[in-house]
Symmetry: C2
Subunit: 326 residues, 2 copies
């Protein structure tokens, strides 16, 4: 993979937190292609998105550490910090709020304090989420949508985004946030739904099993990981983005349509539409699609990978590499 927007970071010193996950590892690969000096920091928490396979063949420096333990040494001299580390399972956050608080708040405060200490001039890009909006009144939802998260994970991610804004406003750190929607692609977690339902679906298909569609009529938008990587790279190169928070997003599709598209891309497979389990229903956000006009206006970004080809490429990757993600 290579990415035109990465050129701006050719030869620069860059840090990617959560860099063994889906987005972080693809970002690291794009940066390596332009000979950036890349450090990946990842706590390699088994229940999160990290997978060592994602870093295979990359000549990046890997710092295996929890951000909460302080990373000032690893940030030394960094010009850009792509801050993608975090817990993102909604149901896990409800079952164990304190662990979610640790990974999404304690760790993020420590990252920002480390940044103040050893990389005060760096641009810090935080991976926020549409989850902070909760149930939205209309789609596509823009950034003026009230912050009203429906689960603990959303509360903590909203706080972490506010930490970033605050460290900009108060300390002059060059922070900004991208509010991601469902991101998918090669390297995602597929052994369960902890990183989103689509990972669980892909996992089932690659095992030759049927997958379960909860509900089916809910609308969601998806971004291929390469589009999200481009978004982060474009944001890093746009001084006017500093201090802000911007939606990514894509065209809405119902879960049922998405299931059909996935089976089609797979050349076969089956799924079952089932009612939402109680624990999921209680925190479900209903329909969502993000309005990314503000970010597009600033950077020219828009999603370019079509759903069908993105799904095909993802399935192909996991058919070839299933054992590393099982």
């Amino acid at each position: 993979m290579s990415s035109a927007p990465a050129q701006a970071l050719a030869g620069r010193r860059v840090v990617v937190t959560g860099g063994a996950g889906l987005i972080g590892s693809r970002l690291a690969a794009a940066l390596q292609d332009v000979a950036a000096d890349v450090t990946v920091i990842d706590a390699m928490v088994p229940e999160h998105g990290a997978n060592r396979r994602n870093l295979d063949g990359l000549a990046v420096r890997l710092v295996e550490r929890d951000l909460a333990d302080g990373v000032a040494d690893a940030l030394e001299g960094a010009e850009v910090v792509f801050n993608l580390a975090g817990q993102r399972s909604h149901t896990d956050s409800m079952a164990d709020p304190r662990t979610d608080l640790h990974h999404n708040c304690t760790a993020q405060l420590a990252l920002l304090e480390s940044g103040r200490e050893s990389a005060p001039g760096a641009t810090v890009l935080f991976a926020s989420t549409r989850q902070i909006y909760g149930r939205v009144a209309r789609i596509p939802a823009d950034e003026s949508t009230p912050i009203a998260p429906r689960d603990i994970n959303g509360v903590h991610k909203a706080a972490a985004e506010q930490f970033h804004r605050l460290y900009h406003d108060v300390y002059g750190l060059r922070t900004l946030s991208l509010r991601l929607t469902n991101t998918y692609g090669p390297g995602m977690r597929i052994r369960d739904a902890r990183q989103g339902f689509l990972g669980a679906w892909v996992g089932a298909l690659t095992r030759g099993e049927a997958f379960a569609v909860w509900g089916g009529d809910q609308l969601r938008d998806l971004n291929h990981v390469d589009d999200v990587v481009d978004a982060f790279l474009l944001a890093a190169a746009e001084p006017r983005a500093v201090g802000g928070a911007f939606n990514l997003g894509g065209p809405p599709v119902s879960l049922r349509e998405l299931a059909e598209a996935l089976v089609h891309a797979n050349g076969g497979g089956s799924y079952e539409v089932v009612p939402l389990p109680e624990e999921a229903k209680r925190i479900d956000i209903g329909d969502y699609a993000g309005d990314y006009t503000a970010f597009e206006t600033l950077t020219g970004w828009r999603p370019r990978v079509a759903l069908d080809s993105g799904l095909r490429q993802t399935l192909e990757y996991f058919r070839a590499n299933r054992e590393s993600y099982a």
Copy 2:
């Protein structure tokens, strides 16, 4: 002190977290007057609002414990939990964000989990704050004002308020939040400005010293502690308040006018108007006054203690009890 709205809790089992502080201890006294069965939980953190003197003469059960350690045993059988515990120094939260996170988020999550476990039917009233709004575009500010805190304390208090809303929406806990503004009165912390500038002013006056007014033109509103106690008692008795978040508030007054009023109430004293120190300027919220129409409509509450008599009574108390608060 006695409070008419307390009658509804006569003989009931009630818990007050942060009950050795300004508001909690006055609430405990009002509840004792109607023979409620009162448990006070307080971590007695030296830098916070607790003062043992505030509980003198009260026949309440005192559980000296950090909420983060779990309080399911202390909540057993409670019908109402007045949840007032927390860290509230804005500058301390900036200097040590992790400690603020502990007291305002970790502890609050633990309180709510304890409530789910041992008092799932209790009404839980959270002391939120106008600090979650940050700088407001106009005053008085109502509850639709965007949540955009200017300091770490505000981010954490906003998260804690969202925890309460979430535990209502998801688990059916009977939670609600009151967004307090500057609360003052007998029992407040006066040895420094950790619980607000007015405490520091009162402390200086009772020592016969001049006090410093930072800025002077900023508008703020104040509520006497007895009005805030009434607000909590009225909210506890109003089923339609459950699930909501409501501003308290009062008429705006400039810091300079307030300084004059305080010197007048004291029958003398002096102050100096000085520029805001850098660390305060960076997180200053400018003008603020809360629009409490929503809460007044629901409960009939409005502030009743006039500023002059409230200040007089406060100064009188501290002249008589200075050594316990110095």
